[in-house]
């Protein structure tokens, strides 16, 4: 992983690329919020400031998903196809963990700053700073959210063992992540429950933001932690099953 870091640091041009990318994405987010909140003041009680906090969480988790998990799993898919994965299995480090953190797209980590900045802006503009306890719950929910996202990716990537899907599925997953800019809380009751169930990433982004702005309901906090545990277990199970069926590209 250190060598991957050093390799990336050489390509400084990428830094500017991602910076432009992040700024474009920021502009889009602000524009879409502007369009929606040009017509209303609040949706189901969520104000524009609240949504900035949600966007902050969105960018934080995006950094993890697209800066670490995506490049790592892409590497895994490639290794499976080329047969290099055989070596990986022989090493003493846990192969599933490695498959999720083996590559880091360093420059993409600028998204973290963006995430923190947006969160602070949203909180500051509303003028309601969270208590220490709320920050602690936020941290816990960020861990749960990250686990949900990583486990979900791992689960889906295990499918590549069976079907040799290639990288296309990773792009689809990125695409899916793009849609979690909206907190599940703005959706009416039944839809919120349905979406939390079929769309774990939505929950992953929503709950940390809710913790900060004091809207977190305990059932959803518990659901997030539970989901993180269940998904992690499922990802582990799928991985073990997949490895057992794996026979190497050359075999």
């Amino acid at each position: 992983m250190r060598s991957a870091l050093l390799e990336d640091l050489q390509y400084r041009a990428n830094f500017w690329l991602y910076l432009v990318n992040a700024l474009v994405e920021l502009a889009l987010s602000v524009a879409t919020l502007g369009i929606v909140y040009g017509h209303v003041d609040a949706i189901n009680g969520w104000t524009r400031d609240d949504l900035f906090v949600v966007l902050g969480t969105f960018f934080l988790l995006q950094t993890v998903v697209q800066g670490v998990v995506h490049p790592s799993v892409a590497q895994l898919v490639q290794d499976i196809r080329t047969g290099n994965f055989d070596h990986r299995l022989l090493k003493p480090v846990d192969a599933q963990l490695v498959s999720l953190v083996q590559r880091v797209d360093v420059w993409r980590l600028v998204g973290t700053l963006l995430g923190i900045g947006l969160t602070l802006y949203g909180l500051g503009h509303a003028g309601e700073w969270p208590s220490l306890a709320q920050v602690a719950v936020w941290a816990l929910m960020i861990v749960a959210g990250t686990t949900i996202a990583a486990a979900f990716w791992s689960l889906v990537s295990s499918i590549t063992f069976w079907t040799v899907q290639g990288e296309g599925i990773l792009w689809t997953l990125d695409d899916m992540y793009e849609h979690v800019r909206w907190p599940l809380g703005i959706f009416p009751g039944a839809l919120k429950v349905v979406l939390s169930t079929v769309f774990p990433l939505g929950l992953a982004v929503t709950v940390p933001a809710e913790a900060l702005i004091g809207r977190l309901e305990w059932p959803f906090a518990l659901a997030a932690v539970g989901l993180a545990v269940v998904l992690a277990a499922a990802a582990r199970g799928a991985w073990l099953l997949a490895v057992r069926r794996y026979e190497g590209a050359s075999a």
Binding site: N14, V24, I35, H39, V40, Q165, I169, W182, L191
Partner: protein, 292 residues
């Protein structure tokens, strides 16, 4: 004449099609596109998991848009920008349908093919690589749309979707959809072609994604955008390939708007076609010069 999808070489005209007479050229183009389509359909069936996830993401996108704007409508006293909650549902489900029927992959695939050199063998085939890509997408889109239809129908009832549809708007929509597919393909291909000169086009790609999200009427119906953005959208090509066909299908265009729309779509397609042809010719030369 039967075309073998695996090689794409059974075009019947061994000479480069640039020199073939126009009517034969058109015919071989069609055959080629159909062959590519059939091949893609076969590949698509193998990649079921990806297709399934892809479809799920598309549905999710529609559901989220509907939910957001329904909430806006109800917070706003029942309607926003002339759309009631149920009309928002009709609009976004139609967006989903049109997006799916005109979808392309050329924007992501072409840069990969250029970078890895996969394009080289494709250039040797008698079929133009872009044409092959277009045919492939056609098949993929039809497959996926058929797969998505049941879910769309269910969502239609769940959200009580409403559209003001007439026989005329449907016929107009059917005429305009292929035009929109061509227009969107040309825009996407033009983005992809820049990979001949630029090694990393990520920033351009995301700029494109977001521009089309806002300006095409994908995120919100055009009438809900602030004035300057609306004007920009009517000048850019994105709206004409998505928002316009959707508004036509949902009965939100009068005759004058329909005529203007078709004219804009055709005009943009012609401009983009010429630009793409020029860029492609120069690009292939630059590609060859790199030694790939």
């Amino acid at each position: 004449m039967t075309a073998r999808p695996a090689t794409g070489s059974a075009l019947g005209s061994p000479e480069p099609f640039d020199y073939a007479p126009a009517h034969r050229r058109l015919r071989s183009w069609l055959v080629a596109a159909l062959a590519a389509a059939r091949s893609e359909a076969q590949v698509g069936v193998q990649y079921r998991a990806n297709l399934l996830l892809w479809g799920a993401v598309r549905l999710l996108q529609a559901v989220i848009s509907i939910a957001v704007w329904r909430s806006v409508a109800s917070a706003n006293g029942g309607a926003a920008g002339g759309f009631t909650a149920n009309e928002f549902a009709g609009y976004f489900l139609t967006v989903l349908l049109v997006l799916e029927l005109t979808h392309t992959w050329v924007r992501g695939r072409l840069p990969t093919q250029i970078r890895t050199g996969e394009l080289s063998p494709l250039l040797l085939r008698p079929m133009h690589p872009l044409l092959e890509s277009f045919g492939r997408m056609g098949a993929f889109n039809v497959l996926l749309t058929i797969g998505l239809l049941p879910s769309i129908v269910i969502l239609w009832f769940v959200f009580d979707a409403e559209v003001d549809v007439s026989a005329v708007s449907i016929i107009a929509g059917i005429v305009v959809l292929p035009l929109a597919a061509v227009g969107r393909f040309l825009v996407d291909a033009l983005v992809g072609v820049t990979a001949f000169w630029l090694t990393r086009i990520d920033a351009l790609q995301s700029l494109y994604t977001y521009a089309s999200l806002v300006f095409a009427g994908q995120f919100a119906p055009l009438v809900l955008l602030p004035g300057p953005l609306q004007t920009a959208a009517k000048v850019l090509p994105f709206y004409w390939t998505l928002g316009f066909p959707v508004e036509l299908l949902t009965g939100r265009c009068d005759l004058r708007e329909a005529v203007i729309g078709v004219a804009m779509l055709t005009g943009w397609s012609a401009v983009l076609f010429v630009a793409l042809a020029l860029a492609w010719r120069r690009g292939v030369r630059a590609y060859g010069a790199v030694g790939a």
